[in-house]
Symmetry: C2
Subunit: 364 residues, 2 copies
Amino acid sequence: MNRVEISAGKLRGLLRLADDEGRFRMMAIDQRGSLKRMIKKATGKEATYEDLAQIKKLIVKVLSPYSSATLIDPGYGYPIAAKYLPPEVGLLLAVEETGYLASGAGERERKTRLLEGWSVGKVKRAGADGVKLLLYYRHDGSPEVVEHQQGIARKVGEECARHDIPYVLEIVAYPFREDEDKDSPVYAERKPKLVFDYVAEFAKPEYKVDILKVEFPADLKYCREYADGAFDGVKREPVYNLSEVEDFCREVTRLARVPWVILSAGVGIEEFLEEVEIASRCGASGFLCGRALWKYCVDYYPDLDAVEEWLSTGGAENFRKLYAASEAATPFWDTEAFGGFPNLALEKAGPEWYRNYPDFAGDE
Amino acid sequence: MNRVEISAGKLRGLLRLADDEGRFRMMAIDQRGSLKRMIKKATGKEATYEDLAQIKKLIVKVLSPYSSATLIDPGYGYPIAAKYLPPEVGLLLAVEETGYLASGAGERERKTRLLEGWSVGKVKRAGADGVKLLLYYRHDGSPEVVEHQQGIARKVGEECARHDIPYVLEIVAYPFREDEDKDSPVYAERKPKLVFDYVAEFAKPEYKVDILKVEFPADLKYCREYADGAFDGVKREPVYNLSEVEDFCREVTRLARVPWVILSAGVGIEEFLEEVEIASRCGASGFLCGRALWKYCVDYYPDLDAVEEWLSTGGAENFRKLYAASEAATPFWDTEAFGGFPNLALEKAGPEWYRNYPDFAGDE
């Protein structure tokens, strides 16, 4: 195996996002639109800035100490939560605008927009350890939407390289064809291929992605071993079995080359724990878990004491289970892109390293 | 107490350099000239790049996990040590050239030079949590040298503000008058005033310093309670007593306003432990300790196993003693500049924070 050279900012950032064993046990609290809807459901009222800021602050305070890194949004989350994020926990900041722009035929496709007035440079300057971009993606979408999404992913990748900060690209497919429904055998059957297609695309070196944050490449509710209603009591006709699902995960590992982690996409904690366990034994490097981890706390809002109490008990318990479920995850330095800790080396290490290492463009 | 607003990068950086209680328990391994001389003494040969890199790597590997942050130089240290610095430990990188330019009448004064080909921007881009500049300083030096030193300190302060990264300014006085000798009652007597003068100067807001790294404001060997040869067996005529020395430390706290830490300046560990204990109970926020912590390991060089063995035992023991000695240190957020953890807030926190937060100059 050859020595794998990596730039100083990327190496330090990856080490900061991972735990001491090189696994990513990350929490997401960058939800905006979906959290607003959850709050409205709990209180019956439109969620305000204060509502979101309060909940985010509590989740960061109570649960981020368990995470190797926490993903926050710069609008509602970070300004309030900054001082509560423990210094030993890595910090990921999101760069996209919440939601998407409905596009394509019948406006059933989704275009990602970057958050206006914010940038990769600001993420770096604020002292974060990584940049996260959420990209909705269908490889079989209309060329105009596909190109737009690829263009944004490429642009953020270039900015991250310029600022020497890790780039976490989150990709989510979505049903947009007439015959597709999120909870349907048709979509469940198509899901592995949808994930393979986007992983193959965004693993290309031109996107300069450091960590792929992707969906579990199957719908476990349609997997023979869980199709009897294991998670929600609803029986479904299975479209694959567990051994096939494991193969899907291994295929993601093969296509990704860089470390990949799975996202929780709003599924319940029991289902997500299964996904983490399967993905971890098939090559994933961990998880970046949002709602599955903390969503039940929102039910107690606006009783802040009850929210905090649930987080300290139920939330903490969820985190402990996630650690156990990801025990077999591949340390990031053992993925194909890095080839083992002994192979890690700073780019152009040696007496002239500091001279050769580039400054930000524009500085001398 | 009013809310103290702080920029995102400075806040995150300070939290990263401190431990969870807000105290700085930092290690310095950025020595270059002095380490070369120590290696030459141990081996009888001129030290090579490899020699320095090997020793620095081992010190970082074994001792940095005990530190809240580690200070490294970008020439010999960082390229080799990068991957061994635990992610939870803060990273400080030095920006000055080793040594000084002999200046002034009789060339007895010292001018600091910045390391050519290196910059504050590179420190930030590489993912460090703070910038350190070593400044030799005599307030009573020739105007040309004084101005030069103030100019460099101001320039680095501006660059740190521009890149939103904490600025650790290390200041060291030195004997340069005809009647001064480092180990002399005259110099010992002048030392408190030398330290007060530089602390008062560089605490001015125009230098934008976040942490002052300064000498202990007295020579304990000339303090009545230790003047019987407590540290080196040499009896000396005392010039002050312990209660006066405590007042000197309190005066540094009063003048500094920002957090200050003490440096070890090559004294032995026993003497440094006393200094840390006294400074900590009189307002210091911790230590940034170099040679006192690890210097004995160099005696074993080039036997790397023996070097590592000493670090794992003697070095680790020194660190534990330093923690105990600094138990009473003031958390950085409790210094006058911050006024308590509850008062800490991000500058312009709120829904528009991300818009108002500045990007690097030159970026949109």
